[in-house]
């Protein structure tokens, strides 16, 4: 379903390799989590997979249902079914949330050769999904993420995810900046999208999020690659003991 093969990537402006042979395989319907110390390359993995500028891929592949995403523009990757929930959703003054969402939904449908949603169909759908995430209509009228609180921004990410119905979702530190209630709300939003076919990669620093979004597999990442994989108990171990033991174990 989703596979990262021996991925090596560097920063474009500096001669510095961040990902140093990353391997990851996520089957359909599975939820995987990546934890790891700061600077281990967790966010870089998500950016390189989604096609953000500023990185050079030195080696490797990122495959979604057999298609190498690295050959595609970010919008084409999205149309293939990849979705990245940003750690820091970008504020775009002047671009209306609704206009943006509708353009995104219809651009993807067009790229996939599906019929575009008309205004009424779209409105009905977005209202329905927004309601379950407790996003009010006023928020949808505002420019993208402008004046949104941290929690609102993250809920907006999940709303976009719900509207775009991707096959593979990467959540980059979606729990950062969220209070307990907001984390619960966001997690419920994510769990509602688990349908046995859609896959998730949850990047987080804290085990707490994984109480809400239960992973099948937990990976520990350090210095640009996965150093250990296991069940949910691995996250608990990190929570109690930190990374030091794990890092020593591997070294």
């Amino acid at each position: 379903m989703f596979e990262i093969k021996n991925l090596k990537a560097s920063l474009e402006d500096e001669d510095k390799q961040i990902l140093k042979g990353m391997d990851l395989k996520i089957g359909a319907g599975e939820v995987h989590a990546i934890m790891g110390p700061n600077g281990s390359g967790k966010s870089t993995t998500s950016y390189v997979a989604a096609g953000k500028g500023g990185y050079v891929v030195d080696e490797g592949e990122v495959l979604l249902n057999g298609v190498d995403l690295l050959e595609l523009e970010p919008d084409e990757r999205a149309a293939q079914g990849l979705f990245l929930a940003f750690q820091y959703p970008v504020e775009i003054p002047g671009v209306g949330n609704m206009t943006f969402l509708r353009t995104a939904v219809n651009s993807q449908r067009k790229l996939r050769g599906e019929e575009e949603l008309n205004a009424a169909q779209f409105l009905k759908l977005v209202r329905e999904k927004a309601k379950s995430l407790k996003i009010d209509a006023e928020m949808l009228k505002r420019p993208v993420n402008v004046g949104f609180s941290g929690g609102e921004k993250k809920r907006n990410e999940i709303l976009q995810m719900a509207m775009l119905e991707p096959k593979m979702c990467i959540l980059d530190e979606t729990d950062s900046g969220l209070d307990v209630d907001a984390m619960k709300l966001v997690s419920e939003g994510v769990n509602a999208l688990r349908d046995g076919k859609r896959s998730f990669l949850v990047i987080t620093h804290y085990q707490r999020l994984l109480d809400h979004i239960k992973p099948d597999v937990v990976h520990i990442m350090a210095d640009g690659k996965i150093i250990k994989s296991g069940g949910p108990e691995l996250a608990l171990e990190v929570e109690h003991n930190g990374y030091a033991d794990l890092l020593n174990e591997v070294a």
Binding site: A50, G51, K52, G53, E73, P74, D75, R77, A78, A79, F83, L84, F86, P89, V90, I92, P93, G94, V95, T99, F100, L101, T103, A104, V105, S107, Q108, L111, P143, V144, Q160, L164
Partner: protein, 428 residues
Amino acid sequence: MGELKRESAAEALLTRHNAPRPAAAWVESARRAAQARMLAIGAAGRRDEYWRYTNPAALNTAEAPDVEILELEETPVFDGVDKLLITFVDGIYRPDLSDSLSGEHIEITTLEEAFSADIHWAESVFGVLEGNGQSPVSRPFAVLNTALAEQGVVIRATGKVSKPVALRYVRESTRSDVLLHHVIRVESGADLSVLENGAGGARLNTVMEIDVADGGAFHHLRAQGRDHARLATTHMFARLGTESTFKSFTLSVNGKLTRNEVVIDIMGDNTKASVAGASLGDGDFLHDDTIFITHDAVNCESRQVFKKVLKNGATGVFQGKILVQPDAQKTDGYQISQGLLLDDDSNFLAKPELEIYADDVACSHGSTCGAIDENSLFYLMSRGVHRAEAQNMMIVAFLDEAIQEIESEALAEDIRSRLLGWTERHSA
């Protein structure tokens, strides 16, 4: 340019148009004053402080250049608006292409007709506001216009005028060198909207003098369209009374050289003035907005909001000034000018100026110049939006602060859709 040369250049300008036909005494006197003013200030030269960024040479030549007329399939802007239409073809009023010059709460005559009559109020506006606006910065093409123009409209609004007056400038001749002069008085408590569009001539010089009495409101919306050969120098001179409102928005697209000057004197307390513009240039085009707002009253607000999107060698110029006189306390002045450069070949030249002599004022100003924000672009694209479309969304978003200055939501939407059309046609 030396003094002598400037003066002879001014003389040359005064003789390049036909001498105006004799008119009523008050007009003749205003014309004589303008002639003298013209010789005193001289022609515009590259060394002038306010002509450094924009070369006036093409405006100074003896004859208008022979231009190619661009045929557009697009419906003209403001076509769908219920309006009182006044058409000028190559600078000549055309009653056959205009609505009847009458309406509720409004008196309209052509300048030609007004010139042979005694219109008391016009006497205190025609050439007077323009004359006041020559100091401290001279505006030679406006003086030239006062001295020689014979065509235009004279409008007096006496109440809330329901339909906007739409001035449409048609160009048919390839060499017309057009002077249009409009004189407007908005009486106390009256409300008038004026729309302007069209190429007008091979070379177009307009002056609009607007006298807004206490409690009056004046709204102006102008579209300078896609006539690539446009050589235009436009001027607005406004005098604003107590508790009055003045709003002007201009959309400029391409055009060889477009210089829009706006001079506003805020004379009465609690008054609001806004001048805004959005311009788009793709190619060897230049848009220059030169604004001068003087606060001479208490508790007034003024706004200057200019946004320019430039590519393929286009140049955007902004020279904006806020002058706050010693007694103009509680002034709230805002000025923003921003250039969005879509490539490395384009230029945005900005000169924001604040001159403040009062101590209890709030003036904020900013000027920025940059490229499309890559982070935002990636965010939009990561949701499936194509690069070109994402970029277009960001261009329209960039311009939106200026468009928000337009009072009428329907007209603002019209402008937005034109902008979107432009971005789609000019996508990389």
